[in-house]
Subunit: 220 residues, 2 copies
């Protein structure tokens, strides 16, 4: 067959990744044959094996094409708890707006078996979880310094709790395809979770003016 330009080849590679994501999301990783991926991408298995070692390698490419949902480290707006809350909200927003992100996380959380070569991917997932954890701990530490959480709040513990909450909300949000459980309440649940960390929980104060400016920056 006629050799393709470098640019064309890169396009082909990217198309294979995109199609792999879709097929993974439909059939699950293990049940997906590379031949099916190739078919959907309009190539043959030869092309797939040219660009990727095997299915695990292709899966890695799918992951890195989507990237992480949030980087708390980059949050800039509001007090520490606001930044944390915004991060969580933004993750959900990406899930609901970007089909690619939704498919990728659907695959990672519900349609992938972390066995053999994929056990490594699992460690990677846990590793990126650690990033979240560390960022969250930093935020809680700042919040404590700013006096917006209880003085005896343990940043580590609070970060772990928020991390679990985050992991669960992603899992359930994606798992509850019919939207009967979480879809409507996710944002409120996030707001609630964060509010409960505050020293004088916002949720516990009369809040007739909920539509006003969400919170003041109380940092020095």
């Amino acid at each position: 067959m006629a050799r393709k330009t470098k640019a064309e080849a890169a396009l082909t590679k990217d198309r294979i990744v995109t199609c792999a994501r879709q097929v993974f999301a439909r059939d699950g990783v293990t049940n997906t044959s590379l031949e099916e991926v190739a078919r959907v991408a309009g190539v043959t298995r030869g092309a797939v094996y040219w660009h990727f070692r095997n299915k695990a390698d292709l899966f890695m490419a799918v992951r890195s094409q989507t990237g992480l949902l949030i980087q708390l480290g980059q949050a800039k707006v509001g007090d520490p708890l606001q930044r944390l809350e915004n991060g969580l909200l933004q993750a959900l927003q990406r899930l609901s707006e970007e089909t690619a992100a939704q498919e990728t996380y659907e695959v990672m959380l519900w349609k992938c078996e972390y066995v053999g070569e994929f056990a490594q991917v699992r460690d990677d997932l846990i590793g990126s979880g650690r990033l979240f954890l560390d960022d969250a701990e930093t935020l809680y530490r700042e919040a404590r310094a700013a006096g917006i959480v209880a003085a005896n709040l343990d940043p580590k513990t609070a970060a772990v709790a928020t991390f679990c909450f985050y992991a669960g909300i992603l899992k359930i949000w994606l798992g509850d395809t019919r939207g009967t459980i979480l879809r409507q309440h996710a944002q409120q649940a996030i707001a609630h979770h964060i509010a409960q960390q505050r020293r004088i929980p916002l949720a516990a104060t009369r809040q007739v003016d909920r539509r006003g400016p969400p919170a003041k920056d109380s940092s020095p």
Copy 2:
């Protein structure tokens, strides 16, 4: 081959389920062949196909052999929030003590692709999540009536938040096999999550006497 007694047959069936759980936990559901399950159980595929329609049916049996981790409805000790906390703690305790439960949930959360016949299992999982949610909501409603949470706390929202927290803690607890992230802090995170719901968070009060009577029942 010589026909077995009914009792022997039941024993065989149970052994197949137990071995299936182990093999699933080791190789993942999709990568597990029924022949391997049979081999480990000391029978042939004929026995497996006699007792179960196919792999999905066998997986269902594995699930129901283990059952649910917690039933919040049965909690009896302490105030509503105490009961909720105890439920969560008990779930983790079962995970760490019972190998069977650990294996089953390891499979369900990390080594199963919910596709095709298994999509039904996924709905089932979400359904049992709904049970948890309803029970938690009831507990929060009782807690509000008892005045131990803020009067304007929305039981539904709080229940959703706790549900997500629970789902995440199970996922992470099992996923973090090296124990570097969660294993040491899980109990504290649970205590923190619950404490933050209290009107005057327990975590904010000095608690040297944590081993004393957990809480007084303040319901009428």
